[in-house]
Amino acid sequence: MIPLVGLLAGIVIGIVLEPSIPQVLQPYLPIAIVAAMDALFGAFRAYLEGTFTDRIFVVSFISNVLIAAAIVYVGDQIGVGSQLATGVVVVLGIRIFTNAAAIRRALFHA
């Protein structure tokens, strides 16, 4: 319950306050969001399987976001930023779909 409320509160805060992201960080925002979605789906699946631990969720979320942004940052420095961003999105996308399938199986038994 608390996470759901937090999520909604975050969306509202984001829309109302409109915090401006520094220009330097802007390219990494979409990647960070994909990483966050991956962590969310992973956490939900773990929750359904009864292995959810909030400590691991917090740590995995933060590290995923930072690592994804760092990969793209390093890629930008050596000139393959968009390719590495694609790689990150592909890998995280596969994980999201696999986790979503597991969640669907767990929820609807289908």
């Binding site: 608390i2 937090g6 979409p30 969720f57 979320f61 986790n99």
Partner: protein, 257 residues
């Protein structure tokens, strides 16, 4: 492949499996809530920024378009000046040549060569060829008219005995480049808009037949039949072709007398 398999087999963080089950503390719950809030804010900010950026990009684009248009207008003006200066040069040349037999010979030579190289506007009967992309060009890029197609067309017309050619009002000389730049075909670095009207002045009795029989005619027949491009060729009683403003006086000297 092994890498992809590994990603699919282990989509969750492996730590979840190792960690002790159910060690949720109220403090952890709050951490979770804060994190969820951050995630929500991330989503909202990213979505807002993308929607904000759209009109900015649009205005940037229209700004660029208006700049291009201004530059093109300036270019037109400059071309107009070139034309009037060329006329001045011709007047000055006539004055400088004087009025003796040698001068008249040179004048005659100039007036024969001028229309051929595209230095003066010419009028006369000729052939009009209208070509355009095929209706399915949006689906298949190969159905579009390319720069090489226009090059072949122009060369075929020269081969067929054309004395002067212009494409969409741009007179061709032997210095004219027909190239593609981005999505458009340019003649003398001015982009063309479809459809392409190629006008050629020449002997009406033979020009069309000789063009159709040439390799360029075969090339365009093929494009029209297999790619269904528009390709219309017709005789015209009178065509008015402007001079090529790209031709400039590069060298001038006193004739040895």
């Amino acid at each position: 492949m092994d890498l992809l398999n590994q990603i699919i087999r282990q989509p969750m963080d492996p730590d979840y499996a190792f960690a002790a089950v159910g060690n949720e503390s109220p403090q952890g719950r709050w951490k979770l809530g804060v994190l969820a809030m951050i995630i929500g804010a991330l989503f909202a900010v990213a979505a807002l920024q993308t929607t904000r950026a759209a009109p900015a990009l649009q205005s940037e684009r229209s700004e660029l378009i208006s700049r291009v248009q201004t530059a093109e207008r300036e270019q037109d003006e400059l071309r107009g000046r070139v034309t009037s200066l060329t006329e001045d040069i011709a007047t000055l040349r006539t004055a400088a040549l004087g009025d003796d037999d040698a001068a008249r010979l040179v004048e005659a030579q100039i007036s024969t060569l001028d229309p051929v190289v595209g230095n003066t506007a010419v009028t006369g009967p000729g052939v009009l060829i209208v070509v355009d992309d095929s209706p399915s060009a949006a689906a298949d890029a190969r159905d579009r008219v390319l720069d090489i197609d226009l090059q072949v067309l122009a060369n075929g017309l020269w081969e067929g005995g054309a004395e002067a050619i212009s494409i969409n009002g741009h007179r061709l000389s032997n210095l004219t480049a027909i190239r593609s730049a981005g999505d458009a075909i340019t003649v003398d670095y001015r982009s063309l808009t479809r459809p392409y009207r190629v006008e050629a002045i020449g002997d009406v009795r033979t020009l069309q037949a000789r063009f159709v029989e040439s390799s360029a005619g075969a090339w365009w027949n093929d494009l029209a039949q297999n790619r269904r491009m528009r390709y219309e060729i017709s005789d015209v009683k009178q065509l008015d072709l402007a001079a090529d403003p790209g031709i400039v006086l590069r060298h001038a000297g006193r004739a040895a007398s």
